[in-house]
Amino acid sequence: MLIRAKFARDYNLRYISHLEIMDTFRKGIRRAGLPGAYSQGFNPTLNLSLSQPLPVGMAGGGEYLDLELTKPINGESFKARLNSFLPEGLKILAARYIPDHSGLKSLQALLNRAEYHIRARGKLKQQKKELIEDLMAKDKIIVIRKRRNKSDREYDIRPLIFDAKVLAEYKISFLVSTGSSGNVRPEEIIKALQSLESDVPDHSVLDFYRSELFVDMGDKIISPLKDQVLEER
């Protein structure tokens, strides 16, 4: 038995770390008296898992959690109940009850697409349209990744960028690969843009927003709450 829920972590809580968010959910679930299942062993904790960690400083609008249950609970009541026990800035947007979760992949294994919004600054704001068109027209975008205790590595992120759009005067969005099968960080997109136009200023983590996480099903990308994702085990 499992509840899978979509949540937002708002701008006002962007300085809270991933582990602190987990802990806040655990306490919220206990306050709400929801039937979460505990791990076995000496130090029982609620069996809760979250989608890929959001870095400190970044808000997210389409994050996910899985909570194992001891009793069935309807998705709507889970959402309503938990929301009244969470601090302002953390909010369940949708929840789905999954009676049998055997064979279901974990969120972090499933979620492989992320959409980021970037608050464009300086030259990027002025030339957003041209710059993202240029970027998408490239065959290769090499970024340099630092690795712990190893030499830096060159990495082609072009195949991992799927879409780029202008959303508003100051806002652009990118759909990229995330997770273990290939991960693009928004600061790497900025670096790539800087290689096209050196006047593009550095952006801080506060300029990025992870608006959605998806599962790529081959023909389309969908939310992990959808039937199609749940059927595939």
């Binding site: 006002n12 809270i16 806040t24 000496f42």
Partner: protein, 630 residues
């Protein structure tokens, strides 16, 4: 969606990304009380002179926060000391230190209250005032500035910070703090002058207004504190709660995002301790011991766990296992919370088998270590300090602990206790070795897997504190303590024993502030001016600044922590803590004879002065005494 933020905060909000642990400064935790700034008449900010993780772990601050916020027409917010990086940022952006709730600079409040917990935090109070754009000296504050008050466990010698604080509240907040604040609010709203208000405040019970008193000296010798006129009272009484069951106690505590020092639900099961250890200031100034009933404790525990969501519950007090119904409390709590995965912890353990047994019963998880505080190395010295435990008690306790599976034992001792000899130091070494042997023996003979036995010996320098029987005693010199540490180091060199000590130089400073008279305020100011604050943190303490300041103001160290005669006025004589001076002096004399004074709950009345006579309503009911005997 995002809470309204004051302008000061929106100016630096984005910069917090470069600051270590930004959660310290954003507030917005679960159960935080946020009130409309413009629609609330009276605004109070309570401060803890250390960083968030420390301050948010302090029970007293939580009680006051919720108690004051019960009133609709006032708001009470929180502020903690910023870490150095945040302090730098505030200075760079010229933003005043602000409260966590409405993000208002300290100068915008009507009243600031500081918690006094340890002496080395005083420079941090000055720093917080200054960062909050409030003049640090009381005499420099004008009508537009907030009033600054202070209270807490080290308020029993307020003199070293007297010039910085407008008024002190002596004693327990639940009793009279609300009345004091209400009166102050009333007078401030009427637009009275500061001087008038201070004089009026000084007439309230438990309030000490230091500017209405003058310290007198004969060269280096403090000879008394005199009210500036005859209308000012000469004695200030400690405020205390009579019945803990009826005292205000919140259950909707704030739940921090970050991991703080004591990150769990806390229930204060009792207040005060009457064991009468002669070195312990809390044991003297929080008398009498008062207990919460089992029913009340369960009720508070239920409510606190439900409103916070914590999965750990700590039973706090000066000596938790001394609660006359402790077994019943623990039985009921463990039964009650068994199925909800809530663990219960006992923060302080007495040195006896019973305590170890209790700790075993509540801890489903065998934690790696248990801590005991024998305080001194021999039975004789322990008799002198009235720490009524025998060497055998310790061995029995650790035997029990090792058999229950604990493998690490921590032992706390003090160095420089009055009358300490080499024999007592050898006693510490012998005890540590014996404990190790007991553990190794048990490990050898047990069938189950047990980690290597470890014994951790920690020593601190004894500080003769105000309102203890040792308040007249000379504090051991730095070189004496260093020799003792060296001696112990030599005798504790053994595999399995780990020896550690607190910096004796810092203890010396702590002693100087703990026992200091008003002259110490110049020193504190000077040290702060040199850049010192956050002195509870090793990396931020510079003892040389203190000694330099003592020289600059020509203060002889011995005039403060040297021996005092029994008829000599002491800088805290104007405070009435409950225990009377005669009792303290009798206790001192008894210590010289190694005579013990038992806890009056199970024995004769020791006539400490806290109750007007034995068996008054403040003493425990006799039925509880009988309970314990059975």
């Amino acid at each position: 969606m995002v809470l309204f933020l004051a302008e000061v905060f929106s100016q630096i909000d984005d910069y917090l990304i470069n600051i270590d642990s930004p959660e310290r400064y954003i507030g917005q935790e679960w159960n935080q009380i946020f009130k409309d700034w413009d629609r609330t008449d009276y605004r109070i900010c309570i401060g803890f002179p250390d960083i968030y993780e420390i301050g948010m772990s302090h029970l007293g601050l939580k009680i006051i926060y919720h108690m004051l916020n019960e009133e609709d027409d006032l708001l009470c917010e929180r502020v903690f000391a910023p870490w150095t990086d945040m302090e730098q940022l505030l200075k760079e952006k010229d933003i005043g230190l602000f409260s966590l709730e409405n993000k208002r600079e300290l100068k915008d409040f009507d009243l600031l209250g500081f918690t006094l917990q340890y002496e080395m935090s005083y420079t941090t109070i000055l720093n917080m005032l200054s960062l909050g754009k409030v003049p640090v000296y009381s005499s420099e504050r004008s009508k537009a500035d907030p009033f600054v008050m202070a209270g807490g466990s080290t308020v029993f010698n307020p003199e070293p910070i007297a010039p910085f604080i407008d008024f002190f509240y002596i004693g327990e907040a639940e009793e009279n703090l609300f009345n004091v604040i209400n009166s102050l609010k009333n007078w401030q709203e009427k637009g009275f002058n500061r001087d008038v208000i201070l004089e009026k405040l000084s007439q309230l019970s438990g309030v000490y207004v230091p500017s209405l008193y003058e310290a007198q000296y004969d060269e280096q010798k403090f000879i008394g504190l005199k009210p500036i006129n005859d209308d000012i009272k000469t004695e200030i009484n400690r405020q205390r709660v009579k019945d803990l069951n009826n005292a205000y106690c919140p259950t909707d505590y704030i739940v921090p995002y970050m991991d703080i020092v004591h990150n769990r639900a806390v229930i204060e099961v009792s207040r005060g301790c009457q064991r009468g250890c002669r070195f312990c200031a809390a044991g003297m100034t929080y008398r009498p011991a008062r207990e919460r009933s089992v029913e009340k404790i369960i009720e508070l525990a239920d409510q606190t766990l439900a409103s916070t969501g914590y999965d750990e519950l700590a039973l706090a007090s000066l000596s938790t296992v001394d609660h006359t119904k402790i077994k019943e409390i623990l039985d009921q709590l463990t039964k009650r919370y068994h199925s909800s995965n809530i663990s219960i912890s006992l923060p302080s353990l007495r040195v006896d088998e019973f305590s170890v047994e209790m700790a075993k019963n509540v801890q489903k998880i065998r934690r790696s270590g248990l801590t005991f505080a024998p305080e001194a190395g021999t039975d004789k010295l322990r008799q002198r300090i009235n720490k009524g435990i025998k060497e055998e008690d310790l061995y029995k306790s650790v035997k029990a602990a090792f058999s229950y599976g604990w493998h690490r034992i921590k032992l706390y001792f003090m160095l420089g206790l009055p009358g300490e000899t080499e024999e007592d130091l050898l006693g510490i070494a012998n005890m540590a070795k014996k404990v190790l042997e007991i553990g190794q023996e048990i490990r050898k003979n047990t069938d189950r897997r047990m980690k290597k036995i470890e014994v951790q010996v920690n020593v601190t320098t004894f500080i003769p504190k105000p309102f203890t029987p040792f308040q007249w005693v000379k504090m051991a010199s730095l070189s004496e303590i260093k020799d003792k540490i060296n001696f112990l180091q030599k005798h504790l060199r053994k595999k399995g024993i780990n020896f550690d000590w607190n910096d004796p130089e810092v203890s010396r400073l702590e002693g100087l502030v703990a026992r200091g008279d008003r002259r110490m305020s110049d020193v504190i100011y000077h040290v702060w001016k040199q850049g010192s604050r956050l002195e509870g943190w090793n990396e931020h303490i510079y003892p040389e600044r203190w000694f330099e300041a003592l020289g600059k103001y020509n203060i002889e160290i011995e005039s403060i922590i040297g021996e005092k005669s029994s008829d000599q006025p002491l800088p805290w004589d104007h405070l009435v803590a409950g225990v009377n001076r005669t009792f303290l002096y009798e206790e001192y004399k008894k210590s010289l004879l190694s005579e013990e004074t038992p806890d009056c709950r199970w024995n004769y009345c020791s006539d400490c002065g806290v109750c007007y006579k034995p068996y008054s309503d403040l003493c425990l009911e006799s039925s509880q005494v009988i309970d314990n005997v059975n």
